[in-house]
């Protein structure tokens, strides 16, 4: 599934032992993907490979993180891997939706790649429908986290210090039986499946998600990436953190072209 790029570094650039894998879930508002775009763009990460998969809708375009004429002609496809060895960070960006019936095989292949490349832990950025919150969730922070038992042992204490809120479980059979509780992430795409599979496979995974609705999700992406930064400290968090993240050039024209002058 993972195909490394041909670079001078050779196999060194695709050695992810002990790295943190950061990836998005294709979820409501595409918040996880936007947040990952901010990380790749700000940290100026290098592309080290891509996923050759039949599970995602194909797409191709020129370099979405282009800053000048010279670096704007590199092709970019739907699932690419970037790395920053100095921070032991490897990032997977997913740019298109799943093909029907293919998200389960994708999750399985992804998790076995995580195991074979010996990543230390996975951080999944996701989102959930804001309109599905209950009364208590409507108040306070819209950001939540989840940890698999293996990561709970390693990092659970840190979450307490950061004063983060764990994603609440809901009744499996609401109205009938309130004792059995399950994780429910509406609008989260593959988030729940990846999380439950990681729990059973002993993978250290953290899910960071934000409640949001469809619309202009750029502020949601900033909120999520700042939340991530509280933990991973990818950039120096100063007072005005929104200005520290670099918006990629591909975010231009998200809401349509310019207006025809004839309209006025």
């Amino acid at each position: 599934m993972f195909v490394p790029c041909d670079r001078g570094g050779g196999s060194a650039s695709s050695d992810f032992k002990g790295f943190t894998l950061l990836m998005p879930a294709v979820s409501v508002g595409n918040v996880g993907q936007l947040a990952v775009d901010l990380v790749i763009s700000t940290l100026n990460m290098t592309k080290v490979g891509y996923f050759y998969t039949d599970c995602l809708v194909p797409m191709v375009g020129n370099n979405p993180y282009a800053t000048a004429e010279e670096n704007s002609t590199e092709l970019s496809i739907n699932a690419e891997v970037y790395s920053l060895p100095s921070k032991k960070l490897v990032v997977l960006q997913i740019r298109s939706p799943f093909i029907k019936n293919k998200y389960r095989p994708f999750c399985q292949t992804l998790l076995s790649w995580v195991k074979s490349s010996k990543c230390a832990r996975v951080v999944l950025l996701s989102s959930s429908h804001a309109y599905q919150r209950d009364d208590e969730q409507l108040l306070g922070t819209p950001l939540r986290y989840l940890l698999t038992p293996d990561l709970e042992k390693a990092a659970g204490g840190l979450m307490q210090e950061l004063n983060w809120k764990e994603m609440e479980k809901v009744a499996a059979y609401p109205g009938i039986n309130d004792t059995e509780k399950v994780i429910h992430i509406p609008g989260g795409g593959i988030t729940k499946l990846l999380f439950t599979e990681s729990c059973s496979k002993g993978i250290q995974m953290a899910v960071l998600l934000k409640f949001c609705s469809e619309g202009d999700n750029i502020p949601d992406a900033f909120a999520l990436v700042n939340y991530l930064n509280e933990w991973l400290q990818l950039i120096k968090s100063e007072v005005n953190t929104s200005s520290q993240w670099k918006i990629p050039s591909s975010w231009r024209l998200l809401f349509g072209n310019g207006l025809p002058p004839a309209l006025f």
Partner: protein, 218 residues
Amino acid sequence: MATFFGEVVVAPSRAGVDDEEWAEEAREETPEDREIRRELEKKREIDVLWTLKSGASLESSADQPFVCSKFVVAIGHNAAAFLSSFILDSVCWEVVGVVKLWNEWCRTSNTTNVLPTDSFCLFYRLISDPTVLLCQCSCYVAEDQQFQWLEKVFGCMQKEGLQVTILSTCPVADYKTQESTLTLPAPFLKALKTKEFKEQICCPLLEQPNIVRDLPAA
């Protein structure tokens, strides 16, 4: 999500996430479900049939990949019509293959005698240089069939020294630009190329944030 009339509806997500679909898949698959799914998958399978000049059909074999130096693929009615009008003729080109597929939008057959208005996917070879191949694909290849098409077609070809050119069209309204698309001098050409492509391109490259999707992207 509550609408203006007060009724609660499920909000469609731009991310393509459909909770009902996930819930359905989470249920255990019964043997009947599996059988139905397998039948549906078989119906959506793509068959690539290569024909020899003598008219005999020959299943492509993995041991004998075609030697191919140039492969031009025209996807969509406009691109296919371009090839028909300006490149193809019965003197210099011969039909060497056809793709047979079915999906909700179209069905092709394995006949090579097609009308321009039909949905078809045919392969032609230049008689004077049999390593030059053309493909006219005017049928719609569905999302779940695109990868299969790719693997089955390119699987028959020797890939060293192969130059692939893909011709396709997109509506001008889909083009993202600072000005309005009304004032653009349409039609216009844009290109995407891999870094291995060293020749001159005849038109400007596709600017961000525009993308290409479906079969041309695959």
